[in-house]
Symmetry: C2
Subunit: 550 residues, 2 copies
Amino acid sequence: MTQLSRLPQWQALEAERHALAGFHLRAAFAGDAGRHARFARHLSVGGTRVLLDLSKHRIETRTLELLLELAEARALRARIDAMFSGERINTTEQRAVLHVVLRDLSPRPVRVDGADVKPEVISVRDRMLDLAERVRDGRWTGHTGARITDVVNLGIGGSDLGPQMMTVALAPYHDGPRVHFVSNVDPEHLRSTLVGLDPKTTLFIVASKTFTTIETMTNARAARSWLVKGLGAETATARHFVALSTNANDVAAFGVAPANMFEFWDWVGGRYSLWSSIGLPIAIAIGRERFLQMLAGAHAMDEHFRTAEFAQNLPVLMGLVGVWYVNFWGAASQSIAPYSQHLARFAAHLQQLDMESNGKRVNLEGEVVDHETGPVIWGEPGTNGQHAYFQLLQQGPALIPVDFIVAAQSPFADDAQHRILVANCFAQSATLAVGKTADEARAEMIASGKSEPEARRLAPHREFPGNRPSSTILVLRFDPFTLGLLTALYEHKVFVQGAIWGINSFDQWGVELGKQIATKLADALGDPKAPLDAASTGIVGAWREMRGAK
Amino acid sequence: MTQLSRLPQWQALEAERHALAGFHLRAAFAGDAGRHARFARHLSVGGTRVLLDLSKHRIETRTLELLLELAEARALRARIDAMFSGERINTTEQRAVLHVVLRDLSPRPVRVDGADVKPEVISVRDRMLDLAERVRDGRWTGHTGARITDVVNLGIGGSDLGPQMMTVALAPYHDGPRVHFVSNVDPEHLRSTLVGLDPKTTLFIVASKTFTTIETMTNARAARSWLVKGLGAETATARHFVALSTNANDVAAFGVAPANMFEFWDWVGGRYSLWSSIGLPIAIAIGRERFLQMLAGAHAMDEHFRTAEFAQNLPVLMGLVGVWYVNFWGAASQSIAPYSQHLARFAAHLQQLDMESNGKRVNLEGEVVDHETGPVIWGEPGTNGQHAYFQLLQQGPALIPVDFIVAAQSPFADDAQHRILVANCFAQSATLAVGKTADEARAEMIASGKSEPEARRLAPHREFPGNRPSSTILVLRFDPFTLGLLTALYEHKVFVQGAIWGINSFDQWGVELGKQIATKLADALGDPKAPLDAASTGIVGAWREMRGAK
């Protein structure tokens, strides 16, 4: 593959970057009343309204055109079609990438190696949602016949972050048992979660495709001990554990009935799996109908992504604007600011989604790339971040683009308090863009009574450089449909960037090696005579010694 | 002030950076069995053991020497002494910076403008801890005489992140009422927290220095309505609200008795305030004795910072190593990986602490600096991050230093599961440092049955470049003393970096402006005829229109 930097479209963007060296968003807005209209995309996606406002970016019309030309040069359309048609685009694992099928509620066949995967998808989903409904309405009972009040999901990575993010995000729609998430192998995570839970009324979900993930299986065994001890019967396991896995043998050996194992497929990556059986905790929290609405929202975004022209295509535009900053302006990170407390885990989910997908330095041909790839993704819900790290976004030296995500309506009655929330969101993006000059800061201080010399001394500290870019995504409200849509939007944004960079967004060898080495080292820590690598000898010795200390 | 980059010590470090261009941690460990011993600092701080392992950094002995020379050139020792002696080092607000006094349990006087501040500190702390104990043991009752079961802290920024981080971190030591934190002005944050709480047994803490913070006061008024409605008496407020504030008039007008207002001082910044009255929710959760242990741990770190020679000084070394990556290797972010689920909010606290302190582009003299300053701080607890974004840390193109934080002992019985946790931590730092060559990856695949051409094709994808730096901080266990110590360690690390960069780490004008503008815009959103700035007109129009949509 030609290295990206040699492409004429890439070089045109480098020239554009230089042409915009003197660009400032303050001047851009002041000189152009039509700027918002030109760079905002007001769309209807699956019948719901979505606004993507790109007006606060360091772009002109020409910039977007050049970015769209880069997308053409990288054959983005063909890549999208390859994914949707079930080609094995995950080339290092020789797998198709078909999480989009999980949310396509139509009977339209999708073939992998000639066989339609839809019937199996529908069958497993029906079984999974049936279980969720039985747990919710009390037809499923525990070993003693008591109804389930608490569900504990045991999983890590994609078997935790996706379902947890979505469950937390949809808190206003919960009407089932309480749902808890335990991921960490730190024994404190499970122990502190079980405080106050009753084995009689607790159901565990063991979410591990292979049923060998060390964290998850360690917690599963500890949970089973707690349960069996509490109920005094080994056989209780069958009524208190279900499994999301493909390893039927180990699941049965653990004590889970085959009917309570829900499989998924090798064409569903962990970070894209909340739409599969891995979504069971979500379904238990919100119920079948809302779960299906969530899938429908994601599917609406899939259809938008698959069919909309690139100039009106939300994931394509967001992906390209991200590339613009990562590769041409040196942005090393992207901040996510959802203005909703329930989206507290959205950034953590995107961290996995984006950084596990595009944190790669080798392209599809196995060459080391000559450019940056995935940025660091981070953020806390607004308005909280404003009282903390927004200092650095506003006045630090670095360029960090922000995604503001906000809903026009509150899930309950629209009220004055929600308006304050929205005002904060819009105020931050405006301040980042426009800033405040030292002259303005000085004049303000003099007006409020500061002396001229003092105002002059302080002005540089109270100057805001502005010209700091952000997207604003405005949706109607954060309901199941819209959360499905938003999550799929980011999935496809990541896809777009992977396609531009020419990397495989669907493997994760960097995660696999960690698992391998930790298992080896855990054995070695138990055996003082085990040989250790040069980088570990010192720290392990210190640990051994401190472990025995008072 | 001389711009940093003109200092000979800075230029010597630039030369050192070039001299280390071919440095690789794999070779460094292979060629030097004494590397760990050379770069690990095994210390006793306040009687507890702490290990800082710097061996997995791109440094040689000379590098550390040069960094220490930079610290001398920036008069770090004098800066430290100026803080501890109460000088007004926050020069843009003309304030002393004395959070260290809050944890100095000795009667030794500390003077600001000639007056000893200690007596007042001790008096307020005694009153605050006395309240905590009365709430805990039931002497404090609600309006109906019922005992308090739930405490809700209403605060944002430093009045939320610090106490929340510490309360969550010390979960194994909780033996008081449940403590909740509501920060966001999103009405859903308060509403969803109050679900299941009983006004009769709920105590609210309103934490706002000025008692005017819009988020906090909006939530406080909503909470008061909920309470008064639930108990049917306006006068109930006095038994269910206390205030952490300095605004006695507004506090009284709100309905809080003067005896239940706990003040703090203008020499305590928000992000350093958990040691003050702002720590009340921590004290209610863990009690007086453990709260004092937490202070003692922080004070032990203060004494270490103030007195230890720089070559053995933990905050100095951590700060300098951070500067090394930010300014000489282009690292834009720093990942924090605490191997403890209870430290889930540690990175969020450090985000505020670090980014609000050092996210500045202007030095003490008001000149725009010619170098980067504070990095983005981000992270999730290990082992969770390993299954997600560690992909990018291991195999992405960017350089991102990691702080691994781990305890040798579990708070409960030391067990096999805790050993797996520790093994994961050490395995990640070793893999980041040493990596895996393409040859090793190929040989492994062939050994496991892959064909030669397939192994050759996949090897670049399964290669780990290594040479990725990390610190490991190993402590005995995460108890109140150690958490105090660790938190103070990071406070002083931030101080060191601010001193090197020559910026004021103690103001936050970037946060202040956001508050100002949001208030103005919230008014404008309520009035369709209000004038709007050019950058806001478009998005506000879209919001108005979508707000009325179905």
